[in-house]
């Protein structure tokens, strides 16, 4: 029985908790991608770099706040800086929309042209972020690091396995829940949210019933600014802030959005967790857990790791391909424009 508990704790420590916080971060990113796809009808390749930009403004504001001696310990100061980051990111996104995407929208250009324009935006944002903050790792986290450490846990429970819970993990999950709840309330209950869903379902019908498309587009970009800034900040707090990381997150985020059903907000969240859990569990060495559960003579002498951790992108991609082949509309029915 104790062995079983130990196995459970090890599993929670190395798989469940990391996967839940990573899944929340992916879900926020995928939600943004799916909103853009649903309303503006193109895959935004600049999304990862938008997250990097939002994260960067938060990092810079946090540094400024820290230098002013502002602190909300035990919470990280970065939470105070998020609104500033959202405003800056929203201005940048609305600027790119007016300057670049609007032209193609008015032309009714093929989605692929918009994707290419987003490649250009991706280059510029990527360069801009590296130009301002540099390509290196930046630390901006402060406040309490652990809610409880592995040592605390062992002392209290008397188990051999420790369970650590970091502050950033709890903050990630709580913030994601609040943000996603607010987002769904907005989409389902408010008049503006309903008009957005109507626009996503049937553009012509929405136009006929007097919905102003430009207003819908503006609101989408503002929502995306909120999601990307919060997502970028949470990822930075939980792991570390490095501009190139967000470009690499693009693929898992796309995979999450498509696996859940492209254009479906609920699907994006489910997809984020599916991808995160598979990435973490496929690349985790289960030796420890298995050794606790099975009789001693069966204990494995190798790592019981399906794939080495370097293949974690391959996992998200493998799931993406499986879904595209066997269930092209995703787990929840997405759009098939």
């Amino acid at each position: 029985m104790v062995d079983f508990l130990n196995a459970l704790v090890a599993l929670a420590n190395y798989v469940l908790i990391p996967a839940i916080s990573y899944g929340s971060q992916l879900a926020l990113g995928a939600l943004g991608i799916t909103l853009i796809y649903g309303i503006l009808r193109f895959s935004n390749f600049a999304h990862g770099d938008t997250m990097a930009f939002g994260g960067m403004t938060v990092v810079l504001t946090t540094w400024w706040l820290q230098s002013m001696g502002v602190s909300i310990a035990p919470l990280p100061t970065a939470l105070l800086a998020i609104p500033v980051g959202i405003v800056a990111t929203a201005l940048l996104l609305l600027g790119t929309d007016r300057g670049i995407y609007k032209f193609y929208r008015k032309q009714k250009a093929a989605p692929i042209i918009l994707v290419m324009a987003s490649l250009g935006v991706m280059f510029i944002m990527n360069g801009l972020v590296r130009f301002i903050i540099g390509p290196n790792d930046q630390t901006f986290a402060d406040g309490a690091r652990f809610i409880f450490t592995a040592g605390d846990f062992k002392r209290v429970t008397g188990l051999a396995e420790g369970l650590a819970l970091r502050g950033s993990q709890v903050i990630t999950v709580v913030t994601t829940i609040i943000l996603v709840a607010a987002m769904f309330w907005f989409l389902n209950k408010t008049r503006t949210g309903k008009s957005m869903r109507a626009f996503s379902d049937n553009e012509d019908l929405a136009l006929l019933s007097g919905i102003n498309p430009e207003r819908v587009v503006t609101i989408v970009w503002i929502l995306v600014a909120v999601l990307t800034t919060v997502g970028g900040t949470l990822y930075g707090l939980d792991k570390s802030y490095k501009p190139l990381i967000f470009f690499q997150l693009l693929l898992p985020m796309f995979a999450s959005a498509i696996v859940g059903g492209f254009g479906n907000p609920l699907g994006a969240i489910a997809g984020g967790f599916v991808i995160a859990f598979s990435e973490v569990s496929v690349t985790y060495a289960f030796k420890k857990v298995v050794t606790y559960v099975v009789p001693e003579s069966w204990a494995p002498d190798h790592l019981v790791q399906l794939l080495s951790t370097d293949y974690k992108f391959a996992v998200s991609f493998g799931i993406l391909i499986l879904v595209l082949l066997f269930r092209p509309t995703g787990i929840f029915k997405g759009q098939s424009v």
């Binding site: 280059f123 293949y311 993406l320």
Partner: protein
């Protein structure tokens, strides 16, 4: 060919010559060689996008496969690794392929239902366990041989120019598998799928040390041209250099670069000639018909899926050839340097700026964009030095700005792409109608 296009190419040549005079001829020829390789990559992407409208962003993967081909064809074999683990690895790969084929067969033959799902999963899981059981010990054996210098199975010891062809074939083979899986997808999905496949190819190259030594790099890949150190002691070469009154070291490096340039021009000319022939043939017209109106082409009895697969393979093969050439020029395979921004998206900028659908446009785009990609940094340095000349020398802003010029190139590339897309969507040399 009209006067406008000729003058565009002449302007490009002038830019190169100016670089030769201002910086140095060594820099100019190094630039020229990479421009040539870039234009071959751009031709490959143009075959996929310009001819057939396939939005594939997996270029980096094929370029990297070409690089692997260069290493495994031309490196001397590590003989002791073959009896120890080489056969095991091959057996494991055979098991993997057999498992997948069996699973596909089951999926196609059995009636759908739970029985089919269970038997397919059983085949896949069993195959995976068997594969790992054979694969892991063999890999360990190979990697244990001389880990510092070898630790991989080595190559076939063939001449390096052969590897360019092998690079094309390897990329083509991979493209066949990838195309089978992903060409049925809609354009957005195809882009994301190919982006992912390219990442996986890089992950494999980085991690399968038995094949590519991973991030430890393979260096000393043989060259198709002379080595500088040999030239510097070659009495005949010294005689020429003396007669021309040049510096020996400079002249030897220039000689090597020019030899590469000649080889690359030959390859580019062959690929260009074949591409132009293909584009003007009935096959090329059929491709454009499929691109512009898929339904109509299908109604005319064209097998759209098959033709797309064909054009995807051809374009990928060209990228693979370019990748093998790049690695053989560098003389080393560094899996860590393959970045999608540099090897996929930059090539796309070349094709769009040059003019998608036009081979000459792609070549011009390859030259111009690579030239700018390299030269933006020194130009940016000068511009920023000028702009910040009024600031105090110890100002942090000045130091930060000057440190950051390296990142200017991405911003410039993005701005060029957006500008061309907006104001010259057909590119510098537009596709000819009809």
């Amino acid at each position: 060919m009209n006067y406008r296009n000729i003058s565009l190419f002449a302007a490009m040549a002038a830019l190169m010559i100016i670089t030769g005079f201002i910086q140095s001829w060594s820099v100019a020829f190094a630039l020229l060689n990479l421009c040539l390789i870039s234009s071959i990559m751009a031709l490959g992407v143009n075959i996929q996008w310009g001819y057939a409208g396939l939005f594939s962003v997996g270029t980096m993967g094929f370029v990297a496969l070409g690089g692997v081909a260069a290493a495994i064809t031309s490196m001397p074999p590590v003989r002791e690794s073959w009896p120890m683990g080489g056969l095991g690895v091959i057996a494991a790969l055979v098991i993997a392929v057999a498992t997948i084929l069996l699973a596909i067969r089951l999926w196609k033959r059995m009636p759908s239902g739970r029985k089919r799902n269970i038997s397919m999963i059983a085949v896949l899981v069993g195959g995976f366990i068997l594969f790992r059981a054979v694969f892991d010990p063999s890999v360990e054996l190979i990697e244990s041989i001389n880990a510092a210098s070898a630790g991989h199975i080595g190559g076939l010891g063939l001449p390096i120019t052969v590897s360019w062809l092998v690079g094309g074939m390897l990329a083509a083979g991979a493209a066949w598998v990838i195309g089978k899986i992903s060409l049925g997808l809609r354009s957005d999905y195809l882009a994301i799928a190919t982006l992912g496949i390219a990442e996986i190819i890089i992950a494999v190259i980085k991690n399968e040390d038995w094949l590519t030594r991973g991030v430890k790099n393979i260096n000393g890949i043989p060259r198709p041209v002379a080595y500088e150190v040999d030239l510097q002691v070659d009495p005949q070469f010294i005689g020429w250099v003396d007669w021309l009154g040049l510096d020996l070291i400079e002249a030897s490096s220039l000689y090597v670069k020019i030899s590469y340039a000649i080889l690359f021009v030959i390859v580019l000319a062959i690929i260009m000639w074949m591409s132009e022939k293909a584009l003007r043939s009935p096959w090329g017209r059929m491709m454009r018909a499929i691109r512009d109106n898929e339904e109509a082409a299908e109604a005319m009895g064209k097998d759209v899926t098959k033709r797309r697969l064909q054009v995807f393979i051809l374009g990928s093969a060209v990228c693979g050839i370019a990748g093998a050439m790049l690695t053989s020029m560098d003389g080393l395979l560094t899996p860590g340097t393959y970045q999608p921004l540099r090897f996929t998206f930059l090539i796309w900028v070349m094709v769009i700026v040059g003019g998608s659908g036009n081979n000459w446009g792609s070549v011009l785009g390859g030259f111009l964009i690579w030239f700018l990609y390299v030269e933006v940094e020194p130009i940016g340095n000068n511009v920023l030095a000028f702009l910040t000349s009024g600031m105090a020398d110890d100002s942090w802003l000045k130091a930060h700005l000057i440190d950051s010029t390296a990142h200017m190139r991405l911003i410039t590339m993005g701005a060029i792409l957006l500008f061309v897309l907006r104001f010259y969507p057909k590119g510098l040399i537009p596709e000819k109608a009809g």
